[in-house]
């Protein structure tokens, strides 16, 4: 996201998150190119909220996102796989017991 990148042929890539209405989280809607954050916001408004799809927008430089690797998918998420006792359905409830 350096100035050098901005002056090169391709503007940096931004990921766009839109809060569709109050009470909901921002959700990823797509990406776009823009020379800086301010233009990224304006472009995001024009591109992703032409029909009032949002009340708030975040733009994040794509290069700033750290993601888990798909290659280590299984190992990375394995610790949660054998802990069924974290779900309420794991527990037996006697017949007739309510509100539990």
């Amino acid at each position: 996201m350096s100035a050098a990148a901005a002056t090169a042929g391709e503007w940096p890539l931004w990921e766009v998150f839109v809060r569709s209405r109050r009470g909901l989280s921002h959700a990823h809607v797509g990406s776009l190119h823009a020379p800086d954050a301010e233009m990224a916001l304006r472009n995001a408004r024009d591109l992703y909220t032409r029909r009032q799809e949002g009340v708030s927008i975040w733009v994040v430089p794509a290069a700033a996102i750290t993601a888990s690797s798909p290659d280590e998918k299984d190992a990375f998420f394995d610790p949660a796989a054998d802990k069924v006792y974290r779900h309420p359905t794991f527990y037996a409830v006697p017949d007739g017991v309510e509100h539990l």
Binding site: A3, G30, S31, L32, A34, P35, D46, R50, A67, P70
Partner: protein, 334 residues
């Protein structure tokens, strides 16, 4: 608006390869994902040919959206009322937006947008041949919305379930916006066909000119569509060209009756036992002529696109310079 995946194959070595692409086309993990009707996401392993095929199709689709701005942009200054002008502007702006959603989806496959634009400008990647026809009268805005966008919707709705996640998600947004495009076109024709005899004639003339090219938007017949089988296996394509074309015909014939306009096909008839409308033979030589560069507007469309890109260079340069200056200022302040 619309993209289709047919035309000459690209020369070898022009598409991006991911860092860990699979050589074979029958990788078990990948095919298991496809068979489970799960979605492939950008950083997953995938066959190189799957990636190349998607880049080609998504790029061609994106190019179609932005070239598709031209035939309608031609009438913005001459729309018959302020209302029609506002509608047409919104529609053309949507086409630009659709192009951008799709370029962004293509980029998740590891290709640069500038590279895709280069290929469009140099004629190495195609766009839908429908945009190589001229828009001669105001009624063409109606016929394009009703027939061309109508065909596009039939083609695009199944792509919302495409196996490649970013393409499918872009298509969900596009399909939502596309239905206004079709309705406004139908309304233009409906208004004209209920108007003066000159307006009726103008509407009929537009339908006469756009009907056959719209049917060709679905591509060659199934027995002459070499890439289809693999695209179906990979969940990129869900229905064959002929199935989608038939769906469009069945949907459109009753609408033409509601408009009081005729479709220019003397052989068009209802096959009552099958419940389908059957068209006369489609002259696909015309399709291949137009794809091959010999349509009425091929040269003009590309020349206009290149000129627009070149004339926008100073805007891109200025925005980049402004961003660079402010980045430097921010560093100085810190």
């Amino acid at each position: 608006m619309y993209g289709n995946d047919f035309g000459p194959p690209e020369p070898a070595g022009v598409t991006a390869a991911g860092p860990a692409d699979l050589g074979g086309e029958d990788d078990a993990t990948f095919l298991a994902l496809i068979d489970a009707d799960a979605r492939v996401e950008p950083r997953d392993q995938m066959p190189g040919a799957y990636r190349a095929s998607l880049i080609r199709q998504i790029a061609q689709h994106a190019h179609s959206e932005i070239i598709g701005m031209q035939p309608e942009g031609n009438w913005i200054g001459r729309a018959p009322s302020l209302k029609r002008k506002a509608i047409l502007l919104a529609k053309v702006q949507d086409e630009a937006g659709h192009g951008l959603y799709l370029y962004a989806a293509a980029e998740t496959l590891g290709v640069d947008r500038s590279e895709l634009l280069d290929k469009l400008h140099s004629g190495r990647q195609k766009y839908s041949s429908i945009f190589n026809y001229p828009t001669l009268t105001w009624a063409d805005m109606g016929a394009i919305g009703w027939l061309v966008d109508g065909a596009a919707i039939v083609n695009q709705v199944p792509i919302t379930r495409c196996s490649y996640g970013p393409y499918a998600r872009a298509m969900v947004r596009i399909c939502k916006e596309e239905s206004f495009h079709q309705r406004q076109g139908f309304e233009i024709l409906h208004t004209l066909s209920n108007g003066t005899s000159a307006q009726q004639a103008m509407a009929q003339d537009a339908v006469d000119r756009w009907w056959w090219p719209s049917l060709m938007m679905f591509g060659p017949p199934d027995d002459a569509s070499p890439n289809s089988e693999r695209s179906m296996r990979w969940g990129i394509k869900r229905f064959s060209n002929d199935e989608l074309r038939q769906r469009f015909v069945d949907m459109t014939v009753p609408q033409s009756q509601a408009l009081g306009l005729t479709l220019p096909d003397p052989e068009l008839s209802l096959d009552e036992s099958a419940g389908h409308w059957r068209t006369g033979p489609i002259d696909f030589r015309e399709l291949f002529e137009v794809i091959g560069g010999n349509g009425p507007c091929n040269a003009a469309r590309l020349a206009h696109r290149r000129a627009a890109h070149e004339r926008g260079q100073w805007v891109r340069d200025a925005a980049a310079a402004f961003a660079a200056k402010h980045a430097t200022d921010a560093q100085g302040a810190a």
